[in-house]
């Protein structure tokens, strides 16, 4: 599988995303925010975490107009798989590839810790190796991760199973205590209607080796690989 990882000015998880991609046996392509063309044969584009453009104006608001984003939008609209992690999720929302927005954490604090995520829908390119309701341990590190959208958008996401991950207790309960940022309905990750674009606030690329405390983040990379191999068969 060919994975492209975009670096924006201020990205700081691009190396981690490349590492996790290589760890799972993929060919990794480094993409630069000023690129105006994508390498041919790309299967997945990752928008990594960080503070693109210093989070000026709003998180993701300026990165969304980077030259490469025209190609990312075109790639997504053609069915290509796009995965935004943390700041990447914020950029995808600003770009209109995902619904909703990510705003200041409810407690106004930057939160950096391991959280537990419940997989809500396993019938997607990003979650297909998981079992329904599986609980993953993955770190978060963000100040603006409170997922919000209008009531009808949230209802639409829930009704069409576009909420892929929810913050839960280790036992899998979606409680207020398990919610690190005040996201509506404990939402940690969503996909678009056609299920080829996903945004996730936690960092699975930082949880791909047991040495680092958890390798549950591998599930995303293995799901993508499985999806692409089945797709090519």
């Amino acid at each position: 599988m060919n994975i492209g990882v975009v670096t924006f000015p201020g990205s700081n998880c691009d190396a981690d995303a490349r590492h996790a991609s290589a760890l799972t046996g993929n060919t990794v392509h480094s993409l630069w925010h000023k690129d105006t063309a994508l390498p041919s044969g790309l299967d997945v584009i990752i928008l990594p975490g960080g503070f693109s453009y210093g989070d000026y104006l709003r998180t993701g608001a300026i990165a969304r107009f980077s030259p490469i984003m025209t190609e990312v939008v075109r790639f997504a609209n053609a069915g290509g798989l796009v995965f935004g992690i943390c700041n990447g999720f914020q950029i995808l929302c600003e770009a209109g590839l995902l619904p909703g927005a990510l705003i200041r954490n409810q407690n106004l604090s930057f939160v950096c810790k391991d959280v537990f995520l419940r997989v809500e829908n396993t019938d997607t390119p990003f979650t297909n190796v998981c079992s329904p309701g599986q609980v993953l341990r993955v770190p978060v590190a963000h100040g603006e991760g409170r997922y919000t959208a209008s009531a009808d958008v949230i209802k639409g996401l829930e009704d069409s199973a576009q909420v892929l991950y929810r913050y839960v207790t280790p036992a899998g309960q979606a409680t207020d205590e398990a919610n690190p940022n005040g996201s509506l309905n404990n939402i940690a990750g969503v996909t678009n209607a056609s299920r080829n674009v996903m945004g996730l606030m936690p960092h699975p690329e930082r949880a791909c080796e047991l040495l680092l405390g958890s390798d549950d983040g591998l599930t995303v990379f293995l799901s993508l690989a499985r999806h692409c191999n089945v797709g090519m068969a």
Binding site: L57, R58, A61, I62, F65, C93, E94, P99, G100, A101, I103, R104, N105, Q106, N107, L108, T148, A149, S150, A151, G182
Partner: protein, 90 residues
């Protein structure tokens, strides 16, 4: 061409809990100012804009707000526009 100064105020939409506003409100109450409520924290943006008239300037400004300066999913905005007095050459 005329030059206008725009003052844009951006706030979170009413439906979204403004946690900064809430924290500041609590601080004001603890300073014995219980009469102050509905605190909303937003952003103030100033810019100059060149256009043939106020209507054209407003149109440009709305486009700037809708495309970049604000995110309609979470924010509302309003602005005032004033023509800048031409400076006489000395």
């Amino acid at each position: 061409m005329k030059t206008f100064t725009a003052n844009i105020t951006v706030t979170l939409r009413r439906a979204i809990l403004d946690v900064q506003g809430k924290a500041v409100e609590n601080a004001l109450h603890s300073l014995h100012m219980p009469g102050i409520c509905d605190v909303r924290i937003g952003k103030h943006i100033e810019l100059s804009i060149q256009a043939v008239d106020a209507e054209a300037a407003s149109a440009q400004l709305r486009e700037a707000c809708d495309k970049l300066l604000t995110n309609p999913v979470m924010e509302d905005y309003h602005f005032t526009l004033n023509e800048t007095a031409a400076v006489e050459a000395a």
